[in-house]
Each structure stands twice: as structure tokens, then as C-alpha cells.
């Protein structure tokens, strides 16, 4: 069972302000592993939050761009996992 974290812990680990994480959730860029607080977030949520922050701050991608990139990445990973399952 992956370890789950609270909003404050995620914020500390990623350096993303809690308010910003809540904004990501409203944008539906992050869908918390568990819909109910407090321990909602797993590794995947956290890595995704960090990725969004990097896209926004380090690369200067705007919100529309972030949406497109997330969508394409999700699609790419879905395809990769499917290819893996076909190979096995």
C-alpha cells in the first residue's frame, strides 16, 4: 500500500503552496487518490504536482499548454502500459 500524505505534507515535500495544490485540484489536473481529507495524496499525485509546477515556473508553460501536455503524457503512458501488456 503506497504511503498517503496530507495536503500540508505534500506542500512541504514539493514546495508547492497548499492553495496552489487546491487550484490544481479545481483545474482537475490532480485528482487526489482519496476524495476525503486528510490523507489524500499518493506518490503519483505528488509527482504530478511537481511536474505541473516545473512546467509552469521553469518552462513558462501557460495553463492551456499544461492541460495539453498532461493529456498527451497520460495518453503516452496509457499506450506504453498497453504495449507492455500486449508484449507479455
Amino acid at each position: 500500500m503506497p504511503r498517503k500524505r496530507k495536503l500540508e505534507e505534500v506542500s512541504r515535500e514539493t514546495g508547492v503552496a497548499p492553495q496552489t495544490i487546491i487550484e490544481f485540484i479545481h483545474q482537475e489536473w490532480i485528482i487526489p487518490h482519496d476524495p476525503e481529507p486528510p490523507e489524500q495524496f499518493d506518490d503519483e499525485d505528488i509527482a504530478r504536482a511537481r511536474l505541473i509546477l516545473e512546467l509552469r515556473h521553469d518552462f513558462g508553460v501557460n495553463d492551456e499548454g499544461i492541460e495539453i501536455i498532461l493529456h498527451l503524457l497520460d495518453e503516452l503512458y496509457a499506450l506504453q502500459s498497453h504495449i507492455k501488456s500486449v508484449k507479455n
Binding site: E44, A47, D58, D74, Y77, A78, S81
Partner: protein
């Protein structure tokens, strides 16, 4: 810190913050682990580059580095690097057996188109049948959007959200609202096809709404103001002097929503000049007097024999 952050980023020691940022972005875009999943060399270089940027990308830390050298950052992993750059990269959370949660939203249709019918047969889960339903929508609801509760033929009631700007033929998909699936498998989808009822007042032309606007002879000749109905309520429209039947006046932003851009079209008032119902002696005299001095041939030679 083994390497000089300036040389890692490929900038000079006198580079401006802006130049450093640009150099960093350029490298990071190439090296980001999520764009090169599994490439360890790229990942190592990305860490090096972000570590360098964490120092010289920040003016305070950069000054500290310039005066004290890398010693100031030894053991801290380059300032904030330890805190904000640690942990798995996104791609590393996506490699599990079934892939990540976020990538599961892509349904089997995608794969069956790519991998042929074998994929579909093998992967398509059993689910309830899709249902189709046709629904009449008032003109105003189609332009502005609305939400309605409808009763389906099987007497189930569902809420249907009509997005602003839809036209006849638009299909809405309500996933999971179709027939329940056999033995606990997911329900099918409900497809609602919309038929927009015409309006007696508005004509939809693309994203614009046209209305006829009768104006008096005086308003047409001298100008004036008229109250005009729009889909959002009345507005006062300024009529310039000298308009005629067929003149088109634009009322911005009162049309239908363009669903691609979320912007609204315009309303177009198409004018129709109305003669007074009763032509009295005064008017007759005035017009006769005017027209004798100003002969007018509105037909040009279009009806010449």
C-alpha cells in the same frame, strides 16, 4: 558541487538573470525526465542543470556563490534542490502493472483503433447498452445554455446540461446513464441528441442572431434610439440618421456562444422602414415639395425596359 553552475548552464559569469533563465529553460526542456522517461543519462544531466539553476537562478544565492564559491552550498544539494527536486519523477509513478491512475481514463476505443479488433474483443469489458434519446430545446436555452430534468421512456429521470451555443444535431454523452450492465459491469452511456426549436423572433446565422427591426420614416431619416429585444433582455440601440430597409446594425456580444472559442457572436438588427399607416395632407405636401426639388431614381436601370 563538482561543476561550475555557469558552465553547466553554458552561460558566462556576467550573464543577466534573464539570460540564465533562458539558458536553463532551453536545457530543461530537452532534458526533463518526463520527456525522456527512463533515460538515466538525461536524468543525471537534468539534475545537474536544475542544481546549477537553483543557485545562479536566484540572485541572492548567486551573489553568495560568486563571493564564497561552491563551499557555501556543499552538503545542501544546491539550496532548495533537496526539498523541491526530490522524490520520484512523474513517469516513475506510471510504470506499474496497470499504469498510473491518470492514464487509465483512456478507454479501450483508443486501443482498439490502434490494435485492431483483436484488442477490442480481448479488452472491451462487458457493459450495459447505450441508450439514445432525442430532446427538443428552446431556442433561448440553446443560445444561453440550460439544465433540464427529463424523463426517459423507461421513466427514469435524468438531469441534462445543455451547453450554451448548441445547435440542432448536437449530441451529448452522459456516461454511465444508459442501461445497467449485466452482473455488476458498468452501465452504458446515454446519448441525447438535441433539436433546437426555431424562434419566432431570432434567426441564427452562424454565431450571430438576426432580428427584424421596424423603424419609422422619421427614425430612418433623422436617426434616433430604439428599444430592441435581445436574447438577454432589452437594449437601447442607436439608429444613425439615413438608414434604410435592409440596413444592418450590430449589437456586439448578444449572439450565440461559439463553443470552440467560448466567445459570443453578435446580434444583427435588420432594419425595415415603415411608412406611416395614414398619409395625411401634411405629409403629402411635405414629400411632394421635397421630391420636386430632389428627383430620386432608387431602381437605377435595374428595371429599365
Amino acid at each position: 558541487m563538482e561543476k561550475d553552475p555557469y558552465s553547466v548552464l553554458g552561460v558566462s559569469k556576467t550573464a543577466t538573470q534573464d539570460e540564465i533563465k533562458k539558458a536553463y529553460r532551453k536545457l530543461a526542456k530537452k532534458l526533463h525526465p518526463d520527456l525522456n522517461p527512463g533515460n538515466k543519462e538525461m536524468e543525471r544531466r537534468f539534475k545537474e542543470v536544475t542544481g546549477a539553476y537553483d543557485i545562479v537562478g536566484d540572485e541572492t544565492k548567486r551573489a553568495q556563490f560568486d563571493t564564497q564559491g561552491s563551499a557555501a552550498f556543499d552538503g545542501t544539494g544546491g539550496g532548495s534542490q533537496g526539498a523541491s527536486r526530490g522524490g520520484p519523477y512523474y513517469y516513475q509513478t506510471q510504470g506499474g502493472a496497470g499504469g498510473g491512475r491518470y492514464s487509465q481514463g483512456f478507454d479501450d476505443d483508443l486501443f482498439s483503433t490502434l490494435f485492431g479488433s483483436r484488442g477490442r474483443a480481448a479488452r472491451q469489458p462487458l457493459k450495459g447498452e447505450d441508450q439514445h434519446y432525442r430532446m427538443d430545446v428552446d431556442f433561448r436555452d440553446a443560445v444561453l445554455g440550460a439544465e433540464h430534468e427529463v424523463t426517459l421512456p423507461d421513466s427514469r429521470r435524468v438531469r441534462v446540461k445543455i451547453p450554451a451555443g448548441v445547435e440542432t444535431g448536437a449530441k451529448l454523452r452522459l456516461s454511465g446513464m444508459g442501461q445497467p450492465g449485466p452482473k455488476g459491469t458498468p452501465a452504458g452511456d446515454l446519448f441525447v441528441e438535441l433539436a433546437v426549436k426555431p424562434s419566432t423572433q431570432f434567426r441564427r446565422v452562424g454565431h450571430d442572431l438576426e432580428v427584424d427591426l421596424p423603424v419609422s420614416l422619421a427614425e430612418a431619416a433623422l436617426g434616433g434610439e430604439a428599444k430592441v429585444a435581445t436574447i438577454d433582455g432589452h437594449v437601447l440601440l442607436n439608429i444613425p440618421a439615413g438608414v434604410t430597409t435592409g440596413s444592418r446594425l450590430r449589437i456586439r456580444g448578444k449572439g450565440a456562444t461559439d463553443r470552440a472559442t467560448a466567445k459570443r457572436g453578435d446580434q444583427i438588427a435588420v432594419l425595415r422602414v415603415m411608412m406611416p399607416e395614414k398619409i395625411d395632407d401634411d405629409l403629402r405636401a411635405a414629400i411632394r415639395c421635397w421630391s420636386e426639388k430632389n428627383p430620386q431614381n432608387p431602381r437605377g436601370d435595374t428595371h429599365a425596359t
